[in-house]
């Protein structure tokens, strides 16, 4: 009887090759290695647990169906991350169509006023652990509008260029720059506020 491959100790490219020829166990191993990472990316954009779980699941199904298209130009998790990001953007578009986008429209019109706000200085704080700071950044991100949070996630976490973000968000590079600038200002302001409130800065 042929020996079963050692999936748990196999390297990622080997698992991908096995999965490409229909080995579901190899794919299961890939899922177990990257499921949290894919979920985190979906959650960062959607800020909704259930939606993030569903979109992560859909991303894995799409990945299985498109495995033939993966040629290793990027790493497998990066490729997967692009898939889940695209699904999240589609979902945001669907949600936008489904509701009257009055709040975001209001934010857009107040943009020029906000743009005149000073960019707050928020330096890494002495005594504040990286983990604690991350939690505060996460809380601040949750307060941004979908558009501004998405542009931050795509630029800072997904590490896309302005041009790539513009394509994904179906907008101009100028709009991406403007949204990113506004999102950073707002983020810096929110962080400063929370750190002040907690007595971590003057």
């Amino acid at each position: 009887m042929p020996e079963e491959p050692a999936y748990s100790s196999a390297k990622e490219p080997q698992l991908v090759e096995w999965a490409k020829v229909g080995d579901m166990q190899a794919f299961e191993e890939l899922v177990s290695r990257y499921r949290d990472r894919i979920y985190v990316r979906a959650y960062s954009i959607m800020r909704n647990e259930d939606l993030a779980v569903d979109l992560s699941q859909n991303a894995w199904v799409k990945a299985w169906q498109r495995l033939e298209q993966f040629h290793g130009e990027a790493s497998f998790p990066t490729w997967l991350s692009r898939i889940v990001t695209n699904l999240c953007l589609d979902e945001l578009r669907r949600q936008k169509r489904a509701r009257t986008d009055s709040i975001e429209a209001m934010e857009e019109t107040t943009g020029p006023v906000e743009n005149r706000m000073e960019m707050e200085t928020v330096d890494p704080i002495e005594g504040l652990g990286r983990e604690e700071l991350r939690e505060r950044i996460d809380a601040a991100l949750a307060k941004l509008s979908d558009k501004h949070r998405t542009v931050i996630v795509l630029y800072e976490f997904e590490q896309l260029e302005y041009r790539e973000i513009a394509v994904k968000m179906d907008t101009s590079i100028g709009t991406v720059m403007s949204r990113l600038f506004y999102a950073r200002k707002r983020l810096a302001g929110l962080l400063k506020e929370t750190l002040k409130r907690d007595g971590l800065i003057e």
């Binding site: 899922v31 949290d36 979920y39 985190v40 199904v61 960019m119 200085t121 800072e156 950073r184």
Partner: protein, 171 residues
């Protein structure tokens, strides 16, 4: 260049999206402009804070459950893809039975239409036991028997020839 545009350019410089001459010019401006220098420093600080700031999270359901849902979806979509790829049972029935019958019906219709065209069948016996035909697509076989004083002419044609259109002279 207005103020807002300059701010966006400073951000592009911090993000490494501004290169070449434009980047050099802006760097020179930043060195001499306090406001731009401050903005530049703040943008760098915000970028520094954001690096690796994505909070790690764990999927809020068990790995096995998550995988089972993925595997079920994959199987369901595979089944659906296969179902769409192969012809429906009704289409199979159509291919097996209806199309051959339809083909035969078309052939018969064609032959019937040919029959309705006026046939010029002037058949005459030029000599004993011989038939001479004016059309080429009739196969003819003759059979003679001296004993019975009879000749049988067999016309092989897919339509019935009407008697009044035959002009046969038999011995």
């Amino acid at each position: 260049m207005n103020e807002n545009e300059t701010e966006l350019k400073v951000q592009a410089l911090v993000d490494g999206e501004l290169t070449g001459r434009e980047a050099e010019d802006l760097r020179a401006r930043i060195e001499t402009d306090d406001g731009l220098r401050e903005l530049h420093a703040r943008l760098i600080a915000v970028r520094g804070l954001m690096a690796g700031a994505e909070l790690p999270r764990t999927l809020p359901e068990s790995g096995d459950f998550h995988w089972s849902k993925i595997a079920q979806s994959i199987e369901r979509e595979d089944r659906e893809a296969k179902r769409l790829a192969r012809p429906a049972p009704s289409a199979n029935w159509l291919l097996r039975w209806v199309l051959p019958f339809a083909g035969i019906a078309c052939l018969m219709l064609l032959l019937t239409l040919q029959q309705t065209t006026k046939l010029n069948l002037s058949i005459s016996l030029a000599s004993d036991h011989e038939l001479e035909l004016s059309i080429d697509d009739l196969d003819v076989m003759t059979f003679n028997t001296e004993d019975d004083a009879m000749s049988v002419v067999w016309l092989d044609y897919s339509i019935d020839l009407q008697q009044d259109e035959l002009d046969l002279w038999l011995d």
